[in-house]
Assembly symmetry: C2
Homo-oligomer: 623 residues x 2
């Protein structure tokens, strides 16, 4: 067929026309085309054939699943569920000794807002940070391995819902609280709300060498609630902004009582100045944290009135403005960072709240954007052409508008009730303007039904042209709240774990395998390889492990298959145990052999043609 | 653009040619077209635009994740992770009282082989059954709700790996064991393997009204291992077949020792006759199970030699033949059910193993199919045109061949190392011949890298034409082993749970909400609704729950939003608790308030514009 295309050159125009024709037929109009997707149907835009890769990773929160969802864009294929706050037998996470300790007994988390580490206000692809709203934790996932590297519990907090987000060189990962709460989670009647309950912002440090968190300092704020927030860039790089709601101090029926005020606040604070104040000792130590109290330590923290119950605020890519969205007001409000600094400098304050000076709305506000009929704006994303994008929860649409003029450029319907959205490189100083993904809360009948509870959805929107185009609707498990989309070539994974002769408990040759008994502790130094387990090569049955009932057993297992993607699992029947060793990894499984009997052991992660034969037995001699 | 297509009619041929041209360019050749996919590019074949639905559900095992993965075909979009053997905070599964009890303390399972319930050898779309290889359990998922309805532990087993599969009217769900093991899992040295270790097949009953399992009977078999197996259809409807491996009785290093024999066996047994024998009392009661021992109870169980270490056996759609694949021999072997019955009738036995007569291979075997260069065949799937499909693990391909003649029709490369495959309606009496999905074990560089451990993959193959066509490669979390693909209109979900005034612990009106104390037990009869919790409408703060440290708390929560897809979550901060109530559901959360303090409660599953405000407080007064 290819042959007669060049032969009939008059048909080439027909061919192009036909493409559009088929686009019309199968996937709606493709719009005016100005980019590499020109002349592609929507089907073709999302189709990544075998042999090609997606252009971007999307790192999405998994909400109350506790996990990180990794997607490819534009195919919207889910590449991986990375366990973060919840045990995951598919990868042995939370079963082996190290990850079990890291989880600290928790079996779930509520992961809302991923933040990729940044260098010079650009995603650098090294780590992604995660918040656990439910249990006040922060986690870091190493993007070399897509493994969770560290989890830290944060004292004094009441649900770090408004982050994580990072400062422009990842000096801090910021976690503002959602629910105000007595410090330390102590008991205090709700009648004492204004007095005893506090909002806390945690400024967390992460050492990229040791891969460990450390709590830098905390900021004590009024008992308001905080929502998705942002750090400044370039000129505003020392500042962070946060939206607040429930400035009414409601303690019950927030649905009504926290929606009374026409204005809530943006909190604007200078993390660098506060860092210096902490270094100067201007803090109180509370439950192990260095806490700054703005009623005592003046300056560096300001409030700006903003339209009712906002659900997010974001600096523009150039860092000169920040845009807040009033969830219960139909407004996007643009504030000038320069004007805010002027007001700060001139001490042009209209009020003070809990020691925090309030800046004059009219002087700092640059423009209110109020698209007709639009309702429920959430936070703002950006492209490379000076445009902003807002999801509208209630009117179920995305609105594209010009930051400089407030002009509405385009609107596209969404199915349905979008929460936040994420643009390619959208939180950096240089969003690239190719894709926007809307994270939708209600799918209705978008997909085949899976019962009373439907999937959420992610909708892919091509924003490379003047007109937005909804390209694809993709179902997703509960529940993405926020995501970041990063260029694929920024993430550099390792193919295997390096063979490390000095690593404690590792065994690299069969003759070093052994079973050592110390009192009632049994230590197995074993090997997993295609296609067998070797616990003790010198034994009659190298894959048999016999212990006594009541023994405490430690299985130190090294995967000596130093080949990409050859992961071995290790499950013990009826013992509720399963963990894995990736190529070159050593992991330890610890358990008490409290049940006597005969328990098959087998490789749970398909590894080779003789995977089925990769097994052994745990024999527990009765007491 | 549409306008000038009709105007330039001479270009229509060009348009069609152009489609193929673009197919060549973007997605490989589309092959000769004989079905509704004619003239569609691969991109168009998998693209399901908003407003349309997938044609099929694919119900896939989630392997050691323990869960059921639900996909749409042909889009290959994952519609839902249904928790089965592993707790899942995203849905509260294993956190609320009822599902926690159902899981029985286990925090993982190894789900290998889903089986959809059948009526007259056709999927009826009512339930899907699941095996837990690791912990010897069976589960049923109700396809009206996609919720796990029941889980039962099976005595005497050593990993039910060779099923589940169902008889043609779901009289039994069959679970043959993988690892032989002393009955009851008792301790016995591996030196006593041939004497004390047993293979067990469980014949499980499921009551579709009460949605409860019951163990019908078990069959004691030699200490061999068993792999993916099948029940007969039509003429063979009373029979089941199972492949065996490790007929060498190896107890160590199975990689070598279980691969010595050139022939292992197919076990052929008549479940209806055995049922009668059980009814006649010809069984022993062992650990609560009725166990038939073929060394004592003669007849109804036979063995047939088969090529080395087979990995599956399947009846043809008409039930007249069964096809086994020798994983370590490059053969698919077709056996005649009629000839097997003849040999049984004539007592034409060549040997006896553990009381089981062995049928003569040459007389029962109809044909060996040995495609040149093909290595590692797994089990067999079918289309509607008399063809069979086998995945080849080692040569990484799918082979299509004619059952009647053994003729090889087509081969297509797979990326890489396919395990089992699943055809649309493929295990029924009438496979429909549209799609085959290959469940691949090794993805290599098919996708963007997510570290040393890569995703598995599912590859969609269009089998509607003579030539197979690989249409799409889709990543998937660990680890699908088997799947079934069912026509979408066969599954009828309910939109909401019915309002049931008589349901224990349900509360349907605000005035009935209440908190009752009985000693140190606190029972909350509460409501979840958009956008608040009401524990006691008469209280000053209806969403406050104050208890004393040490109280045992029961929160009975009813979701009175009887609207589709309005699910509410219920998380308690720092208490590691989260569950959900779907529309019309009542669920109970039970916990001991052992930590004093102030703990926010909030809706964890996005429900409404004021979801963020749907919260309250648990106050635990210190002792």
């Amino acid at each position: 067929m290819k042959n007669w295309i060049p032969a009939a050159t008059g048909l080439v125009a027909g061919a192009l026309a036909a493409t559009v024709f088929f686009a019309d037929f199968s996937s709606g109009p493709s719009g005016s085309a100005t980019n590499e997707n020109a002349n592609k149907t929507n089907a073709e835009k999302v189709y990544v054939p075998y042999g090609e890769h997606d252009d971007y990773y999307m790192l999405s929160s998994g909400g109350h699943s506790g996990q990180l969802f990794v997607y490819g864009v534009p195919s919207m294929r889910k590449l991986r569920t990375v366990p973060v706050f919840t045990p995951d037998p598919a990868t042995g996470y939370g079963f082996d000794d190290a990850t079990k300790k890291m989880l600290g007994g928790f079996t779930w988390g509520d992961f809302h807002h991923p933040a990729i580490s940044e260098t010079d206000a650009e995603y650098d692809g090294k780590f992604v940070f995660a918040n656990d709203v439910a249990n006040n934790r922060i986690a870091a996932v190493d993007l070399k391995t897509f493994h969770t590297a560290d989890i830290m519990s944060m004292p004094n907090m009441g649900g770090p819902h408004a982050g994580t987000f990072v400062t422009q060189n990842t000096e801090y990962i910021v976690m503002p609280t959602r629910f105000s709460r007595p410090l330390g989670g102590d008991y205090a009647s709700l009648d004492q709300f204004e007095e005893k309950y506090k909002g806390i912002v945690s400024m967390v440090k992460f050492d990229q060498e040791t891969k460990k968190f450390d709590l830098g300092y905390q900021i004590m704020l009024p008992p308001w609630s905080y929502d998705l927030s942002d750090a400044g860039k370039k000129v505003s790089g020392d500042w962070i902004v946060m939206t607040t709601y429930n400035t009414e101090f409601a303690t019950t029926n927030l649905e009504i009582n926290a929606s009374q005020n026409d204005r809530d606040y943006i909190v604007l604070l200078n993390w660098k100045e506060l860092e210096k104040k902490v270094a100067d000792g201007q803090y109180e130590e509370i439950n192990g944290a260095k806490v700054i109290d703005p009623t005592k330590v003046k300056g560096s923290i300001y409030a700006i009135p903003v339209a009712k119950s906002p659900h997010g605020v974001d600096f523009t890519p150039d860092g000169t403005r920040f845009i807040a969205s009033g969830k219960l007001a139909p407004l996007m409000t643009i504030f000038s960072f320069e004007k805010a600094m002027e007001a700060v400098k001139n001490e042009d304050f209209t009020d003070e709240k809990f020691g925090i000076p309030v800046l004059p709305y009219d002087k700092v506000m640059e423009r209110e954007v109020d698209p007709p009929g639009a309702l429920g704006p959430l936070h703002t994303q950006y492209d490379d052409k000076g445009n902003a994008y807002n999801t509208m929860f209630i009117s179920s649409e995305v609105i594209k508008w010009k930051i400089d003029t407030g002009e509405i450029i385009d609107r596209t319907p969404i199915h349905y009730s979008p929460g936040h959205s994420s643009a390619a490189e959208g939180d950096t100083a240089s969003p690239d303007g190719n894709w926007l993904v809307s994270l939708n809360k209600i799918a209705k009948d978008a997909f085949l039904s899976v019962g009373p509870s439907h999937p959420e959805s992610m909708e892919l929107i091509d924003i490379s042209n003047d007109k937005m185009e909804l390209v694809y609707t993709n179902p997703v498990d509960p529940e993405p709240h926020y995501a970041q989309i990063i260029k694929a070539d920024k993430i550099k994974t390792i193919p295997i774990y390096e063979k490390d002769e000095k690593r404690p408990n590792s065994v690299w040759s069969q003759e070093d395998t052994r079973i050592e008994r110390k009192g009632n502790e049994v230590h197995v130094y074993g090997i997993a390889m295609r296609s067998k387990f070797i616990f003790d090569a010198k034994s009659k049955r190298p894959d048999e492990l016999t212990v006594k009932q009541g023994d405490k057993v430690f299985i130190h297992l090294t995967n000596i298959d130093l080949d990409q993607d050859i992961t071995h699992g290790f499950g013990i029947m009826d013992y509720n145990l399963n963990y894995e060793v990736q190529p070159g990894q050593t992991n330890t499984l610890e358990f008490t052999a409290d049940k006597a009997g005969t328990f098959p052991i087998y490789c749970t992660n398909f590894c080779s043609a003789l995977h089925q034969e990769m097994s052994g037995y745990l024999l527990v001699e009765p007491k």
